[in-house]
């Protein structure tokens, strides 16, 4: 049996768990190709025009998988990974949207994912899949437990400072890497963005590589553990309803206030609702703290040159002021 998983959205955070989980159930896993023009175009065609770019891309990945001769496509309903907080409505409504607007209803494999922290390996989440997959409760339990170990390993590596795709690779290879620390004199930039924006090379246009080529040390939200960030927003009377947005908020406030970075880049996708508020908060924080801040907004047509120029100009500026 073949299970399709899109290389999009939370793949860059939970992919290591899901892939491992299905493989350990003895199933074949097909992961769609890295986002490319054809995939995007497929998505644009079916998605409502105003929806955010990552969801358009995701739709493209689903349609691509649907043509790839897989038995099921995994479309989890991400509900909550923190008490009284949720996922962006687009995640919570995803299975509904896919079921009613894309044409592969029979192939949808879905379950609700609920947890009280970012670790979503509780096997009960996945029991609804058992019947379709022809597995027992015990199979599911064991696979989830094993997959959890892989995921924790992956998360450990991102916390050592490796970008998620690299950490994934290190985990699969069973390596034991060392922590990445900024070298003396190196420019340090906080890159704030959702995993699907930062790590999808088509959306981010390889912003990671560009920064690294410019000898920049990069910190992202997923390089922190949940506990490190937990109390950062303590003095706000209210945080956002969406956990990943709050991760960014927490990482952002932490970086603005802990003297760890020389500048901050907010990477956001066109049409993202939560980011409109996050961006404003970062902007105000930057004014208060005097730390340079730049917003990079990508859409389905962003030109690479444009992005490279802006990012390089920003790092040059930081280098100059650091040299003074």
């Amino acid at each position: 049996m073949k299970i399709g998983i899109p290389r999009a959205l939370l793949y860059f955070y939970y992919g290591p768990f899901w892939e491992s989980f299905f493989k350990r159930l003895g199933l074949n896993v097909v992961i769609s190709d890295s986002t490319n023009k054809a995939i995007i175009n497929r998505g644009i065609k079916v998605a409502v025009p105003e929806i955010c770019v990552p969801i358009k891309i995701l739709a493209g990945h689903y349609l691509t998988l649907a043509q790839q001769n897989v038995d099921y496509i995994f479309v989890p309903r991400m509900v909550s990974i923190r008490k009284r907080q949720f996922f962006c409505p687009k995640f919570m409504g995803l299975p509904d949207m896919v079921k009613h607007s894309l044409n592969f209803k029979e192939k949808i494999l879905t379950c609700d994912v609920v947890s009280d922290n970012s670790n979503i390996s509780n096997y009960r989440n996945y029991l609804p899949l058992a019947e379709k997959l022809g597995k027992t409760k015990k199979d599911i339990k064991i696979a989830a437990q094993e997959a959890e170990k892989d995921w924790l390993q992956f998360r450990k590596f991102t916390q050592l400072g490796y970008p998620a795709p690299k950490a994934y690779e290190l985990m699969v290879k069973g390596l034991n890497p060392v922590k990445i620390n900024p070298k003396p004199g190196q420019i340090r930039i906080g890159l704030l963005g959702y995993v699907y924006n930062m790590y999808d090379p088509y959306i981010s246009l390889g912003i990671f590589d560009i920064l690294q080529e410019n000898n920049v040390h990069v910190t992202t939200f997923d390089m922190f553990s949940e506990n490190e960030l937990r109390n950062v927003t303590g003095n706000m009377s209210k945080v956002l309803f969406w956990t990943f947005s709050n991760y960014l908020l927490e990482a952002g406030l932490h970086l603005f206030n802990s003297d760890q970075v020389d500048g901050i880049i907010h990477l956001t996708a066109f049409g993202c609702g939560p980011d409109s508020f996050l961006g404003k908060l970062f902007e105000l924080e930057s004014e208060k703290k005097g730390i340079p801040f730049m917003t990079v907004r990508v859409d389905e047509h962003t030109g690479e040159n444009h992005l490279v120029t802006r990012v390089e100009a920003f790092t040059d500026m930081l280098k100059r002021s650091k040299a003074v």
């Binding site: 998605a47 409502v48 105003e50 929806i51 309903r77 509900v79 009284r84 949720f86 962006c88 409505p89 687009k90 919570m92 409504g93 299975p95 509904d96 949207m97 009613h100 607007s101 609700d112 706000m236 009377s237 209210k238 945080v239 956002l240 309803f241 049409g271 993202c272 609702g273 939560p274 980011d275 409109s276 508020f277 961006g279 404003k280 908060l281 105000l284």
Partner: protein
């Protein structure tokens, strides 16, 4: 202390409640082009449209010398729950030193009691309860009359009659300050209602349109092209999926005795959107099904441009429309809502609904 609130729907009820509690109330101006321009100018570019209009309203209220604004946080849960946090910061950066009090669901808000105590002022709790009860009845009555108005308006013999009646009815209720006053207002309003002269239209020729969508753009006529009136002028009876009294029923009252209309919408929406995803998406799709069950002929779906949950409903609506055989027109509302363009689309849509009904009648 001068106190105000965001502008949404029949604002006299918010005014009433605050006045009954002894506050000096300033009603913010009905949103105009200027309100929207101000809101757009000072809001994040990609903030939702309701956020921008409310931003503009707050600024205008501040210009009028207001020092306290009361609003509700949880029209969601969605971005709306966070509006206040950003509004407050923006107002501060503009130099307005005001208190923005956001009332949330009591259980989730550590400061709920403090806020309520502040609003309570020197009143006894008994007086507060009385005021709240009275306001609740007031909303229910007003909503009932509003529904009637938009049922009659399409058939009025003299254009403008129903609108005038609606204004007089609101004025009547504005006078009421106690139960007896409310009864009086009710009686007079019934007379006013009766005075509207209407053409007799055979049942089979009546066109009924339901308006569904995000609460702010559904409830606030100044930003949705006066949708109800507009549809009435095109000869349609109109009902919305949201009325203030129902919002109260669903969000503030325990549903022990009767199921709120919202709860029923959610039930009917479930086959399409399996769980609450934020905003009113589930209600929107459920309301479409419900309007169809009640033999409505068409649906206007209103959403703020790029509204997160309503984009999900928008994606699913073509399927619902097909499965339930009811035409639906989705309109995204923002500061650029081109009146003429939207108007053409609405007229064409109503023609389509009318033709569809006519062909069914013949068959």
């Amino acid at each position: 202390m001068k106190i105000s609130f965001p502008y949404m729907g029949t604002v006299l009820v918010y005014k009433k409640l605050l006045q009954l509690l002894g506050h000096e109330v300033i009603i913010p101006p009905r949103p105009t082009k200027r309100t929207i321009d101000l809101g757009v100018k000072y809001s994040p570019e990609f903030a939702c449209f309701p956020f921008k209009v409310i931003m503009g309203t707050y600024i205008e209220a501040c210009e009028m010398g207001v020092d306290t604004i009361v609003s509700s946080g949880g029209f969601g849960p969605c971005r709306a729950g966070f509006y206040g946090e950003i509004h407050r910061r923006i107002l501060k950066s503009l130099g307005y030193d005001i208190d923005l009090i956001i009332l949330d669901q009591p259980l989730q808000d550590k400061n709920f009691l403090k806020k309520v105590k502040f609003l309570k002022g020197n009143n006894s709790w008994l007086d507060v309860i009385k005021a709240v009860k009275f306001t609740y009845r007031l909303i229910q009555e007003i909503d009932r009359f509003e529904k009637e108005i938009y049922r009659l308006m399409p058939y009025e013999t003299e254009p403008g009659q129903a609108k005038k009646a609606w204004n007089s009815i609101q004025a009547e209720f504005d006078q009421a300050i106690d139960q007896a006053g409310l009864e009086r207002a009710k009686e007079r309003s019934l007379d006013i209602l009766k005075s509207i002269k209407v053409h007799e239209i055979p049942e089979k020729d009546k066109i009924r349109i339901g308006i569904v969508g995000e609460i702010y753009v559904v409830m606030e006529p100044s930003i949705n092209m006066d949708m109800e009136e507009l549809l009435c002028k095109l000869g349609c009876e109109v009902e919305r999926s949201q009325y203030l009294s129902e919002w109260v029923d669903h969000n503030l009252l325990p549903n022990i005795f009767k199921k709120s209309r919202d709860a029923m919408f959610i039930e009917k929406g479930k086959p399409y959107i399996g769980r609450a995803i934020g905003g009113h998406a589930q209600q929107s799709v459920g309301a479409i099904v419900d309007f169809k069950d009640r033999n409505f002929d068409g649906i206007i779906h209103l959403m703020p441009f790029a509204c997160l949950p309503e984009l999900i409903s928008q994606s699913i609506i073509p399927r619902i429309s097909k499965e339930h055989n009811i035409p639906v027109l989705t309109l995204a509302i923002d500061e650029q809502t081109g009146q003429t363009n939207a108007l053409t689309r609405i007229e064409a849509f109503i023609d389509l609904v009318r033709n569809k009904k006519a062909s069914v009648n013949i068959a």
